[in-house]
Symmetry: C2
Subunit: 165 residues, 2 copies
DNA sequence: TAAGTCGTTTGTGTAAGGCAATCCATTTAT
DNA sequence: ATAAATGGATTGCCTTACACAAACGACTTA
């Protein structure tokens, strides 16, 4: 008798198999990245690096050599800017451009020993900064965050590469 | 008799209680944020928004009203630029500046109903973009990523706020 | 009443980065 | 073999996002 106004939810939500998460991570991602970058730049300055360099070096270490086009695509940056970025890194002998034997128009960009070392120094110097930025995450959480970021980053990039090579 | 060269690892690694993770997330974070931003901007353009606006709106919704100083601190952006950003949002009536009753020098910035709605539309429009950017993450992973980002972002910001208020 | 504070406006400077044109070396197609 | 296409480099121009400084009005606090 008391049932006139109340609509019965009888198993109704079960119909939608997966509740699409409403959360958009973009804004958070942007903001956290901003904090990390601002904080990082001050640690990187003594090493003569900026974040953009670090990103490039990281990508290069991870991929173990890459053509400039590939870099342009994974960094999502215009080719001309890649040239400038690489020029800066090459001027400090952190990277090397070698002509590809297969196609001598191409440059294969690789980390030098010095570059690898510098990158290591940078990461070491960044420990402090990241401890502040990720202060509220414990080590396990930081690790899963790292894993997720890595997986997301590699996914996008490799789809384009898969088509190409 | 075959034991001369091999050093026994007998329980040795147990001595260091926690292996500090060598992974630096900064570069990955930066790059993923860049991808997300580039991808997002094209979806946001029809709504007359850019990512900076979205971040501000998101922060405002989350905090439910904030003083401009607080915004300046959580967004880590110069006060004068906050003014400009808010001017743009106010021009579209997405936010409102009210003078604080406690201290009439201060502006309390709040989302309007229209602002809340627009933010919702934006997030809805961003579903496609984020599906691409986070394509390799399943729903559960995206959710934990979101949670981690949220936790990290809130941590940093609230430390400063805790001191202030 | 004086000094400090919040927000606003204006103006200046810098760095990141896109886009287009031009050039060279090389490869591929005809 | 000659023409067309491609990878990269260089130059120049333009936009945007910021930071920073100075000056002002409104307000609060000492």
């Amino acid at each position: 008798m008391t049932s006139s106004l109340v609509i019965q939810p009888v198993m109704e939500p079960v119909i939608q198999p997966v509740m699409e998460p409403v959360h958009r991570s973009g804004a958070l991602l942007d903001q956290l990245a901003r904090r990390a970058r601002l904080r990082a730049e001050s640690e990187l300055a003594p090493l003569g690096l900026r974040q953009r360099h670090l990103v490039a070096l990281t990508v290069l270490r991870c991929s173990g050599g890459s053509t400039q086009q590939a870099l342009s695509s994974t960094l999502m940056m215009d080719g001309t800017n890649i040239v400038g970025l690489l020029n800066e890194l090459e001027a400090e002998q952190l990277i090397e451009r070698r002509r590809s034997p297969q196609d001598r128009r191409r440059h294969v960009v690789e980390l030098t020993a010095k570059g690898l070392e510098r990158l290591g120094q940078a990461e070491c110097a960044l420990a402090v900064a990241e401890n502040e930025v990720f202060g509220t995450l414990d080590d396990a959480q930081r690790e899963t965050l790292y894993t997720l970021l890595l997986q997301a980053v590699n996914g996008e990039g490799s789809r384009a590469e898969a088509l190409r090579e």
